[in-house]
Amino acid sequence: MSKLAAKDIHFYYGDFEALKGITMEMTAHTVTAFIGPSGCGKSTFLRLFNRMNDLVDGSRMTGLLSMDGEDIYARNIQVDELRKKVGMVFQRPNPFPKSIFENVAYGLRVNGVKDSGFIASRVEASLRAAALWDEVKDKLRQSAFSLSGGQQQRLCIARALAIEPSVVLMDEPASALDPISTAKIEELIFELKKDYTIVIVTHNMQQAARVSDKTAFFYLGELIEYDDTKKIFLNPRVEATQNYITGRFG
């Protein structure tokens, strides 16, 4: 069974229709990449899966969006419960102005975990999973702002992993980073796939090709093509996909 499924999703910002009937499914333990030019709706679509768009005034969605077969926009769904299962990493590193330790512990604390031994072990495990432990283990009490941009982003990944989500959404996680930090993040994504279902939005075609199993190409609010990454990059069915990948527009 598919992990995430979208059926005929329409999304509106006021009168503007940002998504025009998207239907697709994502399987567990895969990396799915969303590509497409700016404004094509890929980020909007991504943010539907943890209901981040609920915060936007005057927005509206129709269609069915489900995780593990459960409608995530159903009335009885509590948004904070959902967001615990669906982690998110943002475009720019956005650590809280707290210590490194407290950043990772934040998700546990707001979800009512009080056992400090358990918190400490989760923080270590998450930092290890985000390949940051060795770099920060001696300065867990220092401010998160003392880290470099790439480290901050991995800290944000660790922060998302700490509450053991089953899905991790990544919204252009490397767009603000230098090439070396980007490589580290990509390596990390490859590792995380074993335990998590990952959806990543990216501007960078090479990145999509390197890290993802499946790729979806969005254009003007529509899903143009969705297939195995290899196929999309080597032999796309649709001409628009071909044009975008080869850099003729976008």
């Binding site: 904070d80 419960e81 975990v113």
Partner: protein, 295 residues
């Protein structure tokens, strides 16, 4: 043990906390607004009974316990006019200088810090200063001109700040567009920038009128007379003023109870001035805001 195991219960309690906390904040928000309505409502209801044509245009009698407040209204108008005449040109010119001429160097920072400091000085200190400089050193005595200068100093930071904000909100492309056509900087400011900025500048001016008309401490020792039964003949004479009049009749006098009605009426007139200034400023902002689409 994983966090998942406890979630059902915790989720419910954290949502309950949110409901309680936000409920409290909502109530506090409305309490503050309620306080405002209580104050204004109280003044309006109590004061409405005192307002009449005779009250607004009559001379006071019995030390303010009866009669009208006409000299106080005239006095406040004189002071507002005087202080605006002084502070407005200086304030607007100085706003133009800060935003258009001075570059972001220490001069601007210095002027801005001084401006902030000036606006944070308590009004009674302005009163002391006005007394020392205008009344005593320049020997103007208790007079409209001394009061106007003192109030002008108080209004100056406000006028400068509004002008600065008004100019800042105009996109640089307009300046560059004009300069690119060969206009000088002065021409650009006069023909392009100021016409676009003046609605906002006027709005600031009106708000500062509201502010100046209610100030009491600066005029205590520079102009205000507690009781006059004639209108001022020149700018070198003292006048009555609404806020000072309210202070006097509500705290001193032989028959405070008898002068209460007068006090309510005077307070209502003062509040009305501020209300009207705010309403006019808001209306102007909306009117011009729709007409001139900036940035």
């Amino acid at each position: 043990m994983s966090p998942e195991t406890k979630t059902g219960h915790v989720g419910r309690s954290k949502r309950r906390n949110q409901a309680i906390a936000f409920g409290i904040f909502r109530v506090l928000g409305f309490v503050v607004i309620a306080i405002l309505f209580v104050i204004i409502g109280f003044i309006v209801i109590k004061g409405a009974g005192a307002i009449s044509w005779e009250f607004l245009t009559g001379m006071p009698s019995e030390g303010g316990a009866s009669g009208g407040i006409f000299p106080a209204i005239v006095g406040t108008l004189c002071l507002v006019a005087g202080s605006v005449l002084i502070s407005f040109p200086i304030g607007v010119l100085s706003g133009i200088y800060i935003n258009e001429y001075a570059h972001n160097n220490w001069v601007v920072r210095f002027i801005r810090i001084m401006n902030n400091n000036l606006s944070s000085i308590p009004s009674v200190v302005f009163g002391l200063f006005g007394m020392s400089l205008f009344v005593n050193t320049l020997e103007w005595g208790d007079s409209i001109i001394a009061g106007s200068f003192t109030l002008a100093l108080l209004a100056l930071p406000l006028v400068i700040r509004t002008t600065e904000e008004a100019l800042k909100s105009i996109d640089d492309s307009f300046r560059q567009g004009s300069l690119a056509l060969g206009a000088t900087k002065l021409q650009t400011i006069r023909r392009v920038i100021l016409p676009m900025a003046y609605p906002n500048i006027i709005t600031g001016l009106i708000l500062s009128i509201g502010r100046v008309s209610g100030e009491t401490a600066p005029i205590l020792f520079t102009v205000a007379a507690s009781f006059l039964s004639h209108l001022p003949g020149s700018i070198f004479e003292p006048v009555m003023a609404l806020p000072y009049h309210l202070y006097v009749i509500s705290t001193s006098g032989t028959d405070i109870e008898a002068s209460r009605t007068m006090a309510y009426g005077t307070a209502l007139v003062l509040v009305a001035i501020v209300l009207v200034a705010n309403l006019v400023a808001n209306a102007l902002r909306n009117f011009f805001g729709n007409k001139v689409k900036m940035n």
